[in-house]
């Protein structure tokens, strides 16, 4: 997905861009309001990350203009201010969520995910494979008209596998994607989630296959 990042701190911006690119998003970075306006006029973004204090003005002005144009693009505000009144003000102006600097990147990731899910309607990013319907944003599976809700780790595991069917993923890679580095997990923990996901996928014509000594892959039966 394509995101716009408006942030004047080069170090922080580089880190955010690198981090979100790891998850496969494309990020345009604007260091000031002028550039940000130019970007958002020419491209449709799925999400805007907006800093409040910028060299050429206040991010809230941008937010107000943005909402005045009736655009639906969700906005997450990155703010260094910790005053409650500011937060209320931000949400009034039409921000979808906010993060107070300094923030954890896992929190940024979680909030991006939550906002996208909340903002986008169903069927927006539907993946069909054999008899399987999969909506990564809402985390729902539909098999033969029956819809089930995936838990977070199952969802992320399926996201990784479905992005490249028939490609083998090692346990180590999957652990990297599923667990935060805070969690002290052995690579065998991944087997639990593979097992659960296999149950979920029963009857869909899609299966997870173990390749001994290599890893797992998603394949059509």
């Amino acid at each position: 997905m394509r995101f716009l990042l408006v942030e004047d701190n080069q170090g922080l911006a580089d880190a955010i861009v690198a981090r979100l690119e790891l998850d496969g998003h494309v990020i345009d970075h604007a260091a000031d309001l002028d550039t940000a306006a130019a970007f958002s006029d020419s491209t449709d973004y799925e999400l805007i990350l907006l800093d409040i204090m910028l060299p050429d003005g206040d991010g809230r002005t941008f937010l107000k203009d943005h909402r005045a144009r009736q655009t639906e693009t969700p906005v997450i505000v990155l703010t260094a201010r910790s005053e409650v009144s500011d937060r209320v003000n931000l949400l009034d102006l039409g921000a979808d969520d906010y993060l107070t600097k300094p923030f954890d990147f896992s929190e940024l990731e979680a909030r991006v995910r939550a906002v996208l899910r909340r903002r986008r309607g169903a069927a927006s990013n539907h993946i069909r494979l054999a008899d399987l319907g999969f909506d990564p944003l809402s985390g729902t599976l539909s098999i033969a008209g029956k819809t089930t809700q995936l838990r977070n780790k199952e969802l992320r595991l399926l996201e990784v596998l479905i992005a490249a069917p028939d490609r083998n993923f090692s346990k180590a890679k999957l652990v990297d994607r599923l667990f935060s580095y805070d969690d002290d997990v052995s690579e065998n923990a991944i087997e639990v989630y593979i097992g659960r996901l296999r149950k979920r996928l029963e009857g869909s014509g899609v299966a997870i296959v173990t390749t001994r000594g290599v890893g797992y892959r998603l394949t059509l039966q």
Binding site: G11, A15, L22, D104, D182
Partner: protein, 457 residues
């Protein structure tokens, strides 16, 4: 909060009232005496005029008949005196000092006029009228003296004195009341200013804009200037704390991202292990920096504790909504129990949110994956209580020792943490006059954290 006691150098209001009342008393007394004196003189004048008229009419009634002088006292001369009151009337007509008719030994002022004297045991007002008569070529001095007792006049004077006294007292009371009102009115703008400043929260450093009397403008502008400087200094401190944490965490975030990118590229297990270890260390530093920031903010804000009405149930619901995305990362259900009830208290919303967030961070971090964290608000024993339960391993023995700075439980396994979290919570709660209780759930064995704050509806 401590309030320094300033020695009071008298009260403006009391001083004003005392001055106004003293002035009113002097004026009232003066009024009383002036009215009394005036009335005495008026009454005397009136009596004198009647007495003189009476004496004159007697003197006019004197006739010279041959060698003798006769006087036929006209009825009207005495009746005009009698009509005034029940006072007794005395008169005497003397020719060259010899009593012609009337009362003996009645003496009037020499040469005519009016005077006060005593006669027959009574105070009398006495007038004398003199006249020269020619009897057979000889000039004879005739003298008419009329006197009247003064009880009627005294009665009138008593009535007037009473009226004067009533007038004086009334004037005094009126002056005192208006004096107190005036003093209050003079002090009111001062009180209003004091009230508007006293009612403010400690973070409300906006200048005073309410209109103030001209005499108070220098005070108000001095106060505004002071608050301006205080605000600048406070926001510098808060900015500094935030900036410091920001400066530490941003480079850490950059390094972490680079390490993650590297981790995706390398295959050799020992390199991967090293990179993972590096990321964990960075996360720990970053979280510590965040908590140090929290801790600094708590210490800083505790000195000027804000007092806003806060409902713990609302706080729980808002925080649950806010942290839901984070809890979801570990498939943890963050819920507010159905049987929660409003639990009002007062305090600093930023601090309480920060405390609750630290508790929930712990619960999310140490609780089992796909578990449940339950918040519940209730009121018990004059405490508004917010409990947070998880389904994790619970606290090891000696839970209260965990709230010491940098203390961590022995059973945390490989989970990253700086040990500052509960210290922050403890400080926030005790700053608000409450108590932090840590215990393990009797059945499930999970950790249960109770934030007990004063119940203030």
């Amino acid at each position: 909060m401590n309030t320094a006691t300033v020695p009071a150098s008298g009260s403006i209001r009391r001083r004003l009232i005392v001055q106004l009342v003293a002035g009113a008393a002097v004026l009232a007394a003066l009024l009383f005496f002036v009215v009394q004196d005036l009335s005495r003189r008026l009454a005397e004048n009136a009596q004198d005029n009647v007495l003189i008229a009476s004496a004159t009419s007697i003197s006019d009634a004197m006739r010279v008949e041959g060698q003798a002088i006769t006087v036929d006292i006209p009825y009207s001369a005495l009746s005009m005196l009698g009509s005034v009151s029940d006072d007794r009337v005395f008169y005497a007509v003397l020719i060259d000092g010899e009593l012609l008719t009337g009362y003996e030994n009645l003496e009037g002022p020499e040469g005519g006029g009016a005077a006060t004297g005593r006669y027959a045991g009574d105070d009398v007002r006495v007038v004398a009228v003199e006249r020269t008569l020619s009897v057979a070529g000889t000039l004879r001095e005739a003298r008419v003296i009329v006197a009247q007792t003064r009880s009627g006049q005294q009665a009138v004077r008593a009535t007037i004195a009473q009226v004067a006294a009533t007038l004086g007292v009334g004037f005094f009371v009126l002056s005192v009341v208006s004096g107190i009102l005036a003093a209050n009115a003079a002090v009111r703008p001062l009180r209003r200013l004091t009230g508007s400043i006293a009612r403010r929260g400690p973070d409300d450093l906006r200048p005073v804009t309410a209109p103030a009397p001209q005499e108070m403008l220098p005070l108000v502008s001095a106060l505004n200037g002071f608050m301006e400087r205080l605000k600048a200094s406070l926001s510098r401190s808060e900015d500094f704390i935030a900036e410091a944490a920001h400066r530490v965490r941003t480079p850490l975030a950059t390094v972490r991202t680079q390490a993650e990118i590297a981790l995706r590229r390398v295959e050799r297990p020992e390199n991967r292990a090293a990179l993972r270890e590096m990321i964990r260390a960075i996360d720990e530093s970053s979280r510590s920096a965040g908590q140090l920031l929290d801790h600094a903010v708590v210490t800083f804000r505790s000195d000027t504790l804000e007092q806003t009405a806060i409902d713990l149930q609302t706080l729980a619901e808002e925080t649950a909504e806010r942290l839901a995305p984070l809890a979801e990362m570990r498939d943890i259900d963050l819920i507010v129990a159905e049987d929660s009830m409003p639990a009002p208290t007062r305090g600093d919303p930023i601090l309480l949110t920060s405390a609750l967030r630290n508790v929930l961070d712990n619960a999310i971090k140490y609780g089992p994956e796909a578990g449940r964290v339950t918040m519940r608000s209730y009121v018990e024993d004059q405490y508004a209580i917010l409990s947070v339960e998880d389904e994790g391993k619970g606290f090891p023995d000696g839970e209260q020792a965990l709230t010491g700075r940098f203390a961590r439980g022995a059973n945390v396994g490989g989970i990253v943490g700086s040990g500052l979290g509960l210290t922050i919570v403890e400080e926030v709660v005790s700053t608000h006059g409450g108590q932090l209780i840590l215990r393990n759930h009797p059945e499930g064995g999970g950790a249960c954290v109770l934030l007990c704050l004063p119940y203030l509806p």
